[in-house]
Point group: C2
Chain length 354, copies 2
């Protein structure tokens, strides 16, 4: 069976590596130097999107912000999984937020507005200046988000912008968490346990699990069922006391699921490939407590015995760029956390410049 | 770093797959349809052995019975790891046996003879017709071995053969076991725990561990140290009561080590790639009890949730051919063994034709 992957970043790279234990062919659409293209059975230029779709039995994506025409063509050909409805929610943040509200899925209170002035007025009137202004389009990894907690400097940045914004309450969470779920073509659902995630400046530094309230898994099931989703899905939460709120979801394998490469018999990548090719779900139990540390802007493959290094073979290191990650497993969470702390010191000894 | 692998069977295939998490290039010498060639960065025909050696920083092999001139050339260029001394022992069984004896490594009692008549006479005089006659050259997976326990039919097969034989005592073992060890360039050694192996008609059906006497690990260390070995090594044992005897060793990753793909943080393939490229040893602890079942002569990828299937993409299924394997993990050995039993029934429901 031929699997087409739109996008050839690290998520596509790992999907192929994990998928290699079974007789699939992997086609990737991206620039030739993309990590995933380096190991694909064939690499297609973005302009050849029709060809990759036509040569694949099923088409998926490793990143939702790839060429809209490629996604649409794959959808029209009946080959796209997960299907385009989930991507559409990610193109406009307000649609995602409204979807949560309309489906009874818990999410921070929000208001949708047009233009910077309206955003600032809403922030003041509705949220007492204690909130977040987010551009509706194009934001990920913390881009396009303006945190306002009575900080007047944000006003000048936002004021003259003429786009749609989501103005949201600021959740003073205890911690961030996520759940990686998977849903089969026949509608079966399963999820790995939640993890604790440390994000700094909007980017994931490390995560570990199992950690947190299993009710999160039920929320992910509800979301995936409502979308008639097929494949691996990642959902991020804010947790405060007993309150659980969805921050956002990703219609794909997710950075906070990389630990499953070593913490579980079947990784999130295994699950995704299996689900989109029509398999019955594979177990999502962890074999041990485990975690992951991102290698952000790191230039050289680190040498360590504390964890297992995955390097993405990106052309060039840049500030904030995910160059690889390190997985750890341990006999309990304390052991896992201890190893992550050792790695933090080994790898970011000179500081974490984000 | 460019790694050349002589031979592109399933061992080369898995070595590449596991090695992909780090920035190595993998070159394979084999026929184009070999499993390993399908995913190599470059495939070299056996006649181009000088080219693969010249383009690689380090050269290894996935099978010791590959082209002698390729091995020799890689050795002469100072690139072969493990080095050729271990392969030479495998070319002549009598050299391997003498090596054990000369280095104080326990192995069944044996006599080296020339010609079939001498072999039969020695069998009678020295072993009271209760032994094994093995051709010195070319035997693996049970080929070239004649088990004689007072069975006269073997005499006619062996009588007129004009080669060197090793005549060995027949060990009526309790079970067969093996240890996968690894030794670094700096001479550090580490080993996974021993496993219980079920061989039928000279071919491995399944194995699981940890199982058996840890003294086996020390014997492997002694062997690896004496050879100044670098890389992963597999050693098979006969265990009878408290007696441990080496049956044979393999200077490479080994079928009884496939379970480490899921039972340990670092697999035997990780270890091999790491060791030959000069890394400090990686941990060899298991993350859980685990095991493996070979897919012998199986024509289609089995569908199962009991274990994790690895399929080798071989061109054609044949009796006894290793088409893939299934790994299992469990909370204890009983759990692992139970899963193997389920798989035996699922996969060999129509019998195990060897």
């Amino acid at each position: 069976m031929n699997i087409g992957i739109l996008g050839g970043g690290q998520l596509g790279l790992m999907m192929i590596n994990e998928g290699r234990r079974l007789p699939f062919k992997f086609y990737v659409m991206d620039e030739r130097e993309a990590p995933g293209c380096g190991i694909a059975d064939k690499c297609f230029a973005p302009s050849d999107y029709k060809e990759i779709v036509d040569s694949s039995d099923v088409v998926t994506f490793e990143f939702e912000h790839v060429s809209e025409e490629a996604l649409q063509y794959a959808q029209d050909e009946g080959k796209l999984l997960p299907s385009i409805n989930s991507v559409e929610l990610k193109r406009e943040r307000y649609k995602e937020k409204e979807y949560y509200r309309d489906h009874g899925l818990p999410t921070p209170r929000f208001v949708v507005v047009r233009g910077g002035e309206d955003a600032l007025r809403t922030l003041k009137d509705e949220f007492n200046n204690y909130g977040v202004i987010k551009q509706s389009r194009g934001g990920y990894d913390g881009k396009g988000q303006y945190f306002v907690k009575g900080d007047p400097s944000v006003a000048s940045q936002v004021k003259d912008m003429n786009c749609t914004f989501v103005v949201e309450e600021f959740v003073d969470f205890d911690f961030e968490a996520s759940v990686i779920g998977v849903r089969s073509r026949r509608g079966e659902f399963s999820a790995y346990p939640p993890t604790f995630n440390l994000n700094l400046k909007g980017i994931l530094v490390y995560n570990y699990g199992p950690y947190g309230d299993p009710r999160m898994q039920e929320i992910v099931r509800k979301l995936a069922d409502s979308l008639n989703y097929v494949g691996t899905i990642g959902v991020e939460f804010f947790v405060k006391g007993s309150s659980i709120l969805i921050n956002e979801f990703a219609p794909r394998v997710h950075n906070t699921g990389h630990y499953t490469l070593d913490g579980a018999m079947f990784s999130q990548f295994d699950q995704h490939v299996n689900a989109i090719t029509g398999g019955d779900l594979l177990p999502t139990e962890l074999t041990s407590p485990s975690g992951m540390l991102n290698l952000l802007g790191i230039e050289k493959v680190p040498i360590t015995r504390t964890g297992k290094v995955y390097w993405y073979n990106k052309k060039e290191a840049k500030k904030r760029r995910k160059m690889g990650h390190v997985n750890v497993v341990g006999k309990d969470l304390e052991d896992v956390k201890g190893k992550i702390d050792i790695l933090m010191k080994q790898i970011y000894d000179k500081g974490l410049d984000l």
